[in-house]
Symmetry: C2
Subunit: 562 residues, 2 copies
């Protein structure tokens, strides 16, 4: 065990000058990692803002005063970079041009306006992505904010405090939009969320976004789905009047624009670097651009989606950090590669956790993939006999007939992101639903179940794959022509059921199944899917053809809106 | 997507009589699964106790009144088995003999004492494992309890209430012992934990058990390690006097025996079934015993450990349930197999979570495996800039030089079991530390970090594998001959350090490194390992040989006791 390997491998060209444009996430990671691999390089980081290495994922929580101390957001100071890593950091230094032939960059000092030229042997671009700001009337009014950096956040905090802001409109229901909703609510504001799509959280399939929408409304958020921003007028008493495309008007003390981001490619374009079809910088698996002396990392680059085999952009901190690491290893002459992304993500909103990994059903359809199935389940986050179990709404999408896991989405108060992390790991290995069924996970009553939600998801999918439980397509459900059988108890049926269904409780199935028609396919459902599964197994063995409405009534609510 | 598969496959022999001995976990799973696959079989479950399908993992919490309602422990009643599954359940029915030649079992009615014979085509044994009860003086005194079933638990509850019990001794510091400690503390008792080994939680390596031991003591538990039970005498005022092997005497109102369990093989032995070297019933991958008409599942069987390639016994509910499922599939004539176990487990104790998966270091040594390394880290359970981050003490063990993950152990207040679940999943796929470094997991400030603890563990292990960070062996650390360098700041050094270490802070390393000797290997450490890693990378590139004390001071405490 006490193997002492050879000395650290020699770097390709000692003493190189490595310039890094952008000192957050990918850029900062790259700088620190490169120093650990190459003591000889001169490493200089430029950032147009006043800070490097700040926690941009923390900004909404700084606005919300959950993170009250701004200094907490500063993960590493220029002094630390200098003393610990011998890395020079220039803040307020905007890189405005690249001359690839001369291998120089033009740097403008933001405070003085003066410009200078810096020579490089290696250049790393990590400029990030800019909030999308559509050219709509009034978009630049005071009180309209995007959330990208510490000064932005500071301005929003000040505006709320100084104006005694009481109402806000958040435009855009993605990650940042939802986190801003949570934090504005946390500060006591009345919040309206305007989202052009008919659902919140675009990475989710619409039916999985429904529990989140209900949760937002239950927390007093005014949800306006399917309506975009038209313009922002001057409102009463110095407030803003947010006018939606529908014509609806919302008075607000402030407006948050959270319409997504676009890669900041202007510098790269001007330098003639290849830009891909998704408008990000094109890089190889070593994060090298079309210029052999220039690497690029983070939100500005295009990356391969390992599930769809497509090129995409994914502005998330985890991949950005790993890309910075890969670029550093590549620059240091080490074998390395970025494996692509699978779009694992999570957001917490007012006590609810929404997590997903891999492809969504709508993403697969857009990509023309059709040979897949999906199941829904709603298990407790831990054993039901232990107090406090809360449901996790879980969707698993898998390839047919090989069972390869394609994606998963989870919504719940507790334990949702744990299950997505496990499924994300299985996806990383090209795992199948059979692997999920067999997974050996932590179980004690307060942590999980003897059959963990992940196991259950795998087992349900196995039932679909091997024909034990054919599933019906919720989207194609025709209540007029289907023979719908609700196998819940009469009291449950009476409290609400799918239109046209007949009630034949599972508890009476063994005596009454002959009441059902044998000449047509039955569509069977219950509360969450378990009793319907038992019923369908019974019916199949008694000569009936049936399909299961996976997830039962608990899933049906997702198909009601819109 | 609307593939309607062929009808369910025909069962091999319709109308068979399938008898199942033991109606908890594996037995109950097998019965219910078999019914879903075979409507023709006659399925009968026998249990010697008054209940089937009860939540045995919930028993300590029932004793502790966390689960106040006994009915919560009953997952499924005999009536539900009958009405829903057409499965007959006989409780208070003790199976006392098997005649494999005649294919009959002898069943004794526990209430009447009468015996009858039942014929089978297929027999499934799921008798479980019995608490170990060493033949020590006084072990059968009233007030000495084991925790196996609902009547046991009810008796303990009654004893505590009726005697106004104030003090307890728990003998054995494994899963059940620790859960009983928590629950007795929860009921306000003063608890002494007596454990013969020098550590609690035997599945953990000793240094990883240390944070748990400290936690127990901080919660007022009297920990007596390295001392076994000698006898139980009559104490003062009708109490019990627990005498340890050391001669120490502990007065107690009740004693819990939690010394582990042993497979209940008497019935199988008497029937001539093959018993393995670990004293469990020997089964094949389809859970079939040496008799082709008899299957066995759950705590009574021996199973292959997928990491060590050894046969073992593992009395846990997750594997038992999956084995029941596999047995049912095998009986129904379907292709199936049990993949073996990797010993994933978790226990919650008074606010601390302890989880592990795969092989421990001591397990590897016992098995004669030497080509492995291990690293320690203590990251926050979520981003440090978000309030409330709590450390996870994490140990990762991996194969050298291929990097295959062999095992992991985690101890922390939050998020420990999530990381073990992710690593367990990677182990299931034969994953390496490189895979952990690349894992794309959920990140938002309140859930994780851009580099999740799992990523960090993988990256640290990569550093060891590729020679970037050779690690020293904590167990072999000789403070007299090693040149120990503490790279923390002077104030931290002054507050406590490893004997003999010199202090050269990382922040001064670049100016002062020439003070260190070049003619010998340095052993570098810091608080948790990060600064020492930075120092060792610097030193390696300046011609120094160094090794890292992985995990730093936070790990060192684990090597102090004993």
């Amino acid at each position: 065990m006490q193997n002492m390997p050879d000395a650290t491998p020699a770097v390709p060209f000692p003493g190189r000058r490595v310039l890094i444009v952008g000192g957050v996430a990918g850029g900062a990671s790259c700088a620190a990692r490169l120093r650990r691999l190459d003591e000889t390089a001169e490493i200089v980081v430029f950032d147009r803002g006043p800070y490097v290495a700040f926690a941009n994922c923390g900004l909404p929580y700084f606005v919300g005063d959950v993170i009250a101390d701004e200094a907490k957001l500063l993960v590493a100071s220029p002094e630390l970079f200098r003393d610990r890593f011998n890395i020079a950091v220039h803040t307020d230094a905007d890189v405005v041009g690249i001359d690839p032939a001369a291998r120089t960059i033009a740097v403008r000092d933001v405070t003085t306006g003066t410009e200078r030229t810096e020579r490089y042997d290696v250049l790393v671009l990590s400029p990030g992505a800019a909030p999308i700001r559509p050219a709509l009337p009034g978009i630049d009014r005071p009180g309209v904010f995007a959330v990208r950096n510490i000064p932005d956040s500071r301005r929003i905090r000040a505006w709320i405090t100084e104006r005694h802001a009481q109402t806000a409109v958040v435009v855009g229901g993605g990650f940042i939009g939802l986190e801003m909703v949570e934090n504005l609510r946390h500060r006591g504001l009345d919040v309206t969320l305007l989202e052009k799509l008919p659902q919140v959280m675009p990475p989710l399939d619409p039916e999985m976004a429904e529990p989140l929408a209900e949760h937002l409304e239950s927390k007093g958020v005014h949800l306006r789905l399917g309506d975009g921003l038209a313009r922002i007028d001057e409102g009463a008493d110095g407030r803003l009047a947010v006018v939606a495309e529908s014509g609806a008007v919302y008075q607000a003390d402030l407006v948050i624009l959270a319409l997504g981001v676009k890669p900041e490619t202007a510098l790269a374009r001007a330098a003639g670097l290849a830009i891909g079809e998704r408008d990000g910088i094109r890089v190889d698996a070593q994060m090298r651009t079309s210029d052999p002396h220039i690497w690029a990392v983070g939100d500005v680059v295009e990356v391969p989606d390992v599930l769809l085999g497509q090129i995409t952009v994914l502005p998330l901190a985890g991949p950005a950090n790993r890309q910075g690491r890969v670029a550093a290893e590549s620059i240091a002459g080490r074998p390395t590669h970025f494996r692509g992304i699978q779009a694992t993500a999570v957001v917490g909103v007012l006590g609810l956790t929404v997590a997903s990994t891999g492809a969504s059903e709508k993403g697969l359809r857009r990509a023309g993939v059709t040979c897949f199935e999906r199941i829904y389940l709603h298990p407790g986050h831990h054993a039901g006999y232990y107090p406090g179990a809360r449901p996790i709404h879980l969707k698993l999408i898998f390839s047919v007939p090989d069972g390869r896991i394609l994606g998963a989405q989870a919504v719940g108060e507790e334990g949702a992101e744990k299950r997505i992390d496990v499924i994300a790991t299985a996806i990383q290995f090209g795992g199948t639903v059979h692997d999920l069924a067999e997974a050996e996970l932590c179980y004690a009553p307060q942590f999980g179940a003897a059959k963990d939600p992940v196991n259950l998801a795998g087992m349900l999918a196995q039932n679909v794959l091997n024909g034990d439980m054919p599933v019906a397509d919720w989207n194609a459900l025709d209540t007029a022509t289907s023979f719908l059988v609700d196998v819940r108890e009469p009291a449950e049926f009476a409290a609400g059921h799918i239109a046209g269904a007949v009630n034949l409780p599972l508890s009476q199935m063994r005596h009454r199944y002959r009441e059902l028609p044998t000449d047509r396919e039955l569509v069977v459902y219950c509360g969450v899917g378990q009793r319907a599964y038992f019923a369908s197994r019974f019916l199949a063995q008694h000569g009936y053809r049936s399909r299961n409405l996976s997830g039962g009534m608990a899933t049906s609510r997702g198909f009601r809106r819109g």
